[in-house]
């Protein structure tokens, strides 16, 4: 009798005992869940207002989309990413302030940002001081290397120099140099002139437009007069509209632009741009599965009428590489991530890109595109393989380069 009814006198206690065990187990399991739920802040430093907002907005959108993609597939190291936007307001002073704020107050793990070289140059000392990490997606003049910046855009030897070579081989030998008056066009033209000199070519003319000015009449006059086969165009901004309008009708002259991509084609007008060229690593019209997926994802997210250009793709590459770096480093610490980025490679929409740790730039493929009637570029040439980045062309020592840069009076 006593055996059968053992539990009943303490029947009350019996039940509670099991409950206690269950609670303890549950607590234990929960405690064992060591997953950290805090999000990681990702700093986005672009102009959301001002003259550059039109272009930089695209880059912000790409970053947002990429972050969503990454979060949807589980985040990075099991943690979700949280974008923190900072407005540089097209003003390099604002950029440096915001960079500092993002690093010090928001404590972001990484920065994606800048478009103009002046903004980048303003942010460079900030990231170097705080030993942080910035991904810069624009093609630029090179001649720079920072241990805290990963440059995902093209160096001159990955854009300008092969582009010039191809143009000289395929279009003509007489050249006119035209650009906006700031560091990139001046440095670019410096390198182009080196290249021309070696082929024994002297540019027919070289002109710089003050930024923001649309008084292109002098240049148009010049070009009409000189009738060069080629114009190497490094004008940035609205002035392009006036320029191409002014050129209309001039069949013999082909313009090879280094700062015009798909959005600018739409802004300037497809008719005006038809048949002219641009040199990039990436065009929206690249026919590869990776690119098709990238473009359709972007259009699906932001609208079918939007177009994708090289800086946007470079931005996308940047954040994807960062994710790989974090995964390899096992931490979000910027310096460790940067070290883990060495020898990383990625099958980007443009093809394979690899990180060159020595220069902190990427191996990128060069493409030359010709404007078609649908506003997209037909790719007329591409390099066989990705080109090694040399921000400082080897035919001068670095000190000589820096000296030459000084002479351009923009440092």
């Amino acid at each position: 009798m006593a055996m059968e009814r053992e539990c009943t006198p303490q029947g009350y206690l019996c039940r509670w005992r099991w409950l206690a065990i269950a609670i303890l187990l549950a607590v234990g399991i929960v405690a064992c869940d060591t997953k950290d739920d805090a999000t990681i802040k990702v700093g986005i430093l672009h102009s959301m207002s001002g003259t550059m907002a039109f272009s930089e907005r695209d880059l912000v959108d790409v970053l947002i989309m990429a972050i969503e993609e990454i979060n949807a597939s589980g985040g990075v190291l099991g943690r979700q990413l949280e974008p923190v936007l900072a407005d540089g307001a097209s003003n390099w002073w604002q950029f440096s302030k915001e960079a500092e704020r993002l690093i010090v107050q928001e404590r972001v793990a990484v920065l994606f940002g800048c478009w103009t070289s002046s903004s980048r140059i303003a942010v460079k000392p900030i990231v170097e001081r705080y030993e942080h990490l910035l991904f810069y997606p624009l093609q630029y003049e090179g001649l720079e290397q920072s241990p805290n910046i990963i440059y995902t855009g093209a160096t001159p030897n990955q854009q300008i120099i092969p582009g010039v070579h191809w143009a000289l081989e395929n279009i003509g030998q007489s050249v006119y140099l035209l650009g906006s008056d700031y560091i990139f066009p001046r440095a670019a033209n410096m390198l182009i002139k080196d290249q021309l000199k070696n082929r024994g070519i002297e540019p027919l003319g070289e002109m710089y437009l003050p930024l923001g000015s649309s008084d292109i009449s002098r240049a148009i006059e010049d070009i009409r007069r000189l009738k060069p086969d080629l114009v190497f165009n490094t004008i940035n901004g609205d002035s392009n509209i006036a320029f191409f309008n002014g050129l209309s009708g001039l069949q013999e002259t082909k313009v090879v632009s280094f700062s015009i991509a798909e959005p600018e084609v739409l802004a300037i007008g497809i008719d005006q741009m038809l048949g002219h060229y641009a040199v990039w690593n990436y065009f929206q019209s690249i026919d590869s599965p990776e690119n098709r997926q990238f473009v359709s994802a972007f259009k699906a997210r932001f609208g079918k009428e939007r177009v994708v250009n090289d800086p946007m793709e470079a931005t996308y590459i940047g954040i994807k590489l960062w994710v790989q770096g974090v995964a390899a480093a096992g931490t979000f610490d910027p310096l460790r991530v940067k070290h883990a980025l060495g020898y990383q490679s990625l099958n980007a929409p443009q093809g394979i890109v690899s990180v060159d740790m020595g220069s902190q730039h990427l191996w990128k493929t060069v493409r030359i595109g010709r404007v078609q009637s649908d506003g997209q570029f037909e790719i007329v040439w591409r390099s066989d393989s990705p080109i090694r980045p040399t921000p400082f062309p080897k035919y001068h020592s670095r000190s000589i380069w820096l000296q030459r840069l000084q002479e351009l009076k923009y440092r």
């Binding site: 030897n157 120099i161 092969p162 070579h165 081989e169 080196d194 290249q195 000199k197 070696n198 082929r199 790989q324 390899a328 060495g342 020898y343 990383q344 490679s345 990625l346 099958n347 980007a348 093809g351 394979i352 890109v353 690899s354 060159d356 020595g358 191996w363 066989d384 393989s385 990705p386 090694r388 040399t390 062309p393 080897k394 035919y395």
Partner: protein, 680 residues
């Protein structure tokens, strides 16, 4: 329900309580270990792969540095400035040309010693001015046609047009039967290209990279491949496929998963399928400077082997522990169960009769105490048993005597029974006799009473007739003596009428008495059944009994209705009523000055109810049940035989098939109720 022995129970419980959590925990630990182990392996593999990439990249960078420094050196510039004019003016025909070449060869010989296959000096227009291996097979003019894709072509073009130092990818060189690559750098003087300097390297670096696999994993392999349009080719021999030729183009479709990832720039570490279609842990890497895909892999089976070994060890341990548990539970079980066994045995022997079984007290405390107590119990049991047996014997003896006694008594009883039976028969005979005597006596009394009664009217009748005779005589005398007057004649007529009336009345009375008596006395012996009016019967009975009844101061009333007709034995009814009435008069009214007796009856379809009730002194309750018993009387010695009511009882019960009851209240009266069925 099957009962399991202690060892089994112990085994099961130990198994459950010890083994189950152990197994679960071990399982969890092992799986997490497996996971961590795999992670670790992946990290190792990843690091190795990264190292390989670094090795190659560094190698190429170093080569580029070498060629760059070469291009910067004053001697090189000098060499070009000497060579170019010579070449232009006659080339090999020029006299100083061979001498210059020999000089240059001596100067640059150390490059070959350092491992370079060749050193080339190429003019800005693409002419091959100098080569270390002068008897080499290079064309005298480098083909700068953009369509031509060759390593040398590539680096020369880069140097010439892009002013860049570059490296080419490795290509198979037939004559030297190995893969070779070129590193080139432009030679610039004041920004103008004067020539290109090229170094040729062999593929030893590949060997170096692929051979170092480190560690103890024998299945490790480094696979290197390069893409060529729609084809790819292995840059090293495959460990597991001796037929694969280095440099031979293979279709893209033959690419293994891991290698395909490597070649398309996807950096990957994880489980993949290799070119043998075997599961491997592979790290895929892309090497940009030579556009190679590199896969550093090891067989999953080997990786898992370590884990498997641990797992097997774990299983072995588990098995050993299981055996241990089995043994321990077996031993423990048998040790613990031993006292139970001996006890069981002892109990059995006790059951089978052995009276003084004992267990040896031993073992642990509980079993020791149990054994002691058991022995006590056993002893007590055996004592009790002895006592019991004794008692049983005694009892049996007693019982046997008892039985004898009983048997004797039974015999005696049987005798008595027989005697009783006899007596009973005698008694019954006597009873019948007595009843007959009583009947006779009653009848006698009845006759006596009747005679007494009859005497009166007959006497009166005699008197009347005498008177009549006298009167007539007188009359006759008167007539004869003519003294008869009318008035005297009328007087004599009146007197004679009176006397005749009296005579008639009394004779009628006598006749009625005789008739009544006949009815009662004769009918008493009448055994026939006939229909009669009850009231009339009772009336005639009352009449015949009147000599007796008038002795008592009791008024008898016959209230029976005239329409009650009974079909039964009138004689019996007479007897019954006679006895009841007489009984009542005799016993009920002693000392009373007056009283009443009522005879009533009612009849339903099947039941006749007769009541004889008086208001006499009643019958005490204790006698009520005894009054119908034969020989019961309260007047013994006073002439009561005690048979009257028993006769009534017998007649009612047996002859009339009815029932008789008595209701009496002391001081108030008695009522006899007779019920009998009506027959038709």
């Amino acid at each position: 329900m099957r009962r399991y022995n202690l060892s089994t129970m112990l085994f099961v419980w130990l198994l459950l309580s010890v083994m189950t959590p152990t197994v679960i925990l071990s399982g969890l630990y092992l799986s997490s270990f497996k996971h961590a182990f795999l992670q670790q392996e992946q990290v190792h593999l990843s690091q190795f792969a990264d190292n390989k990439v670094k090795q190659i990249e560094d190698y190429i960078s170093e080569r580029i540095s070498d060629v760059f420094s070469l291009s910067q050196s004053v001697e090189t510039v000098e060499a070009f400035s000497q060579l170019s004019p010579l070449y232009r003016h006659g080339g090999e025909q020029a006299q100083q040309y061979p001498q210059l070449l020999a000089e240059l060869k001596k100067r640059y010989q150390h490059y070959q010693d350092d491992g370079y296959l060749d050193l080339l000096l190429i003019s800005a227009s693409g002419d091959l001015l100098f080569s270390l291996g002068m008897n080499s097979h290079f064309p005298s003019k480098v083909n700068l046609d953009p369509e031509t894709v060759s390593g040398l072509n590539f680096v020369v073009k880069r140097a010439k047009y892009f002013l860049e130092s570059s490296s080419s990818s490795f290509e198979y060189d037939g004559p030297s039967e190995q893969a070779v690559a070129f590193i080139g750098s432009p030679v610039l003087v004041q920004g103008r290209l004067i020539g290109i300097v090229v170094l040729q390297v062999d593929s030893q670096i590949i060997q170096k990279v692929t051979l170092e696999v480190g560690g103890s994993r024998s299945s490790r392999e480094v696979v290197v491949a390069a893409r060529q349009g729609d084809y790819f080719s292995y840059q090293v021999e495959l460990k597991y496929d001796a037929d694969a030729i280095v440099g031979e183009p293979q279709p893209i479709s033959a690419l293994s998963e891991s290698l395909s990832k490597a070649l398309s720039g996807r950096r990957h570490i994880g489980v993949d399928i290799d070119y043998r279609a075997v599961e491997v842990l592979a790290a895929s890497r892309y090497i940009p400077s030579v556009q190679w895909g590199l896969v550093f892999k090891e067989d999953m089976s080997e990786v898992v082997q370590v884990y498997d070994q641990i797992f097997q060890l774990g299983l072995l341990i588990l098995f050993v522990v299981l055996i241990g548990v089995l043994l321990v539970s077996g031993l423990l079980g048998s040790m613990l169960a031993k006292p139970f066994e001996s006890m069981t045995q002892m109990t059995r022997s006790i059951t089978s009769g052995e009276t003084d079984a004992r267990i040896k007290p031993e073992g642990f405390r509980e079993s020791y105490e149990l054994a002691l107590c058991f022995n006590q119990m056993s002893h007590a049991l055996s004592l009790a048993r002895e006592t019991l047996e004794q008692q049983v014997e005694e009892r049996t003896l007693e019982l046997t005597n008892e039985i004898d006694l009983r048997q004797n008594k039974e015999a005696a009883l049987a005798e008595s029974y027989k005697k009783l039976n006899l007596s009973m028969k005698n008694l019954q005979a006597m009873q019948s006799q007595l009843i007959e005597s009583e009947k006779m006596a009653a009848l006698g009394g009845l006759v006596a009473g009747f005679a007494h009664e009859l005497n009166t009217p007959i006497g009166v009748a005699i008197t009347a007739s005498s008177l009549l005779l006298r009167e007539l005589t007188i009359l006759e005398q008167s007539y004869s003596s003519d003294e008869l007057t009318e008035a005297v004649f009328k007087q004599y007529l009146d007197d004679i009428k009176a006397a005749c009336t009296l005579l008639e009345k009394n004779l009628k009375r006598s006749a009625s008495l005789v008739r009544d008596f006949k009815l009662v006395a004769v009918e008493q012996t009448n055994l026939h059944k006939e229909k009669f009016v009850l009231r009339e019967l009772i009336e005639s009975l009352l009449t015949s009994l009147s000599p007796e009844t008038k002795k008592y101061p009791v008024e008898i009333s016959n209230r029976v209705r005239e329409d009650i007709v009974v079909n039964s034995y009138p004689g019996d009814f007479y007897q019954v009523f006679t006895n009841l009435i007489l009984n009542s008069l005799i016993h009920g009214f002693t000392g009373y000055r007056d009283g009443g007796l009522i005879i009533d009856a009612s009849m339903t379809e099947d039941l006749l109810t007769i009541t004889v009730s008086d208001n006499g002194k009643g019958i005490p309750e204790k006698n009520c049940s005894s009054i119908f018993e034969p020989f019961f009387t309260t007047k013994r010695g006073n002439g009561g035989s005690g048979l009257g009511l028993s006769i009534v009882y017998n007649i009612v019960k047996q002859k009339l098939h009815g029932d008789i009851k008595v209701r009496s209240t002391l001081g108030q009266g008695t009522e006899f109720i007779i019920t009998c069925p009506v027959e038709d």
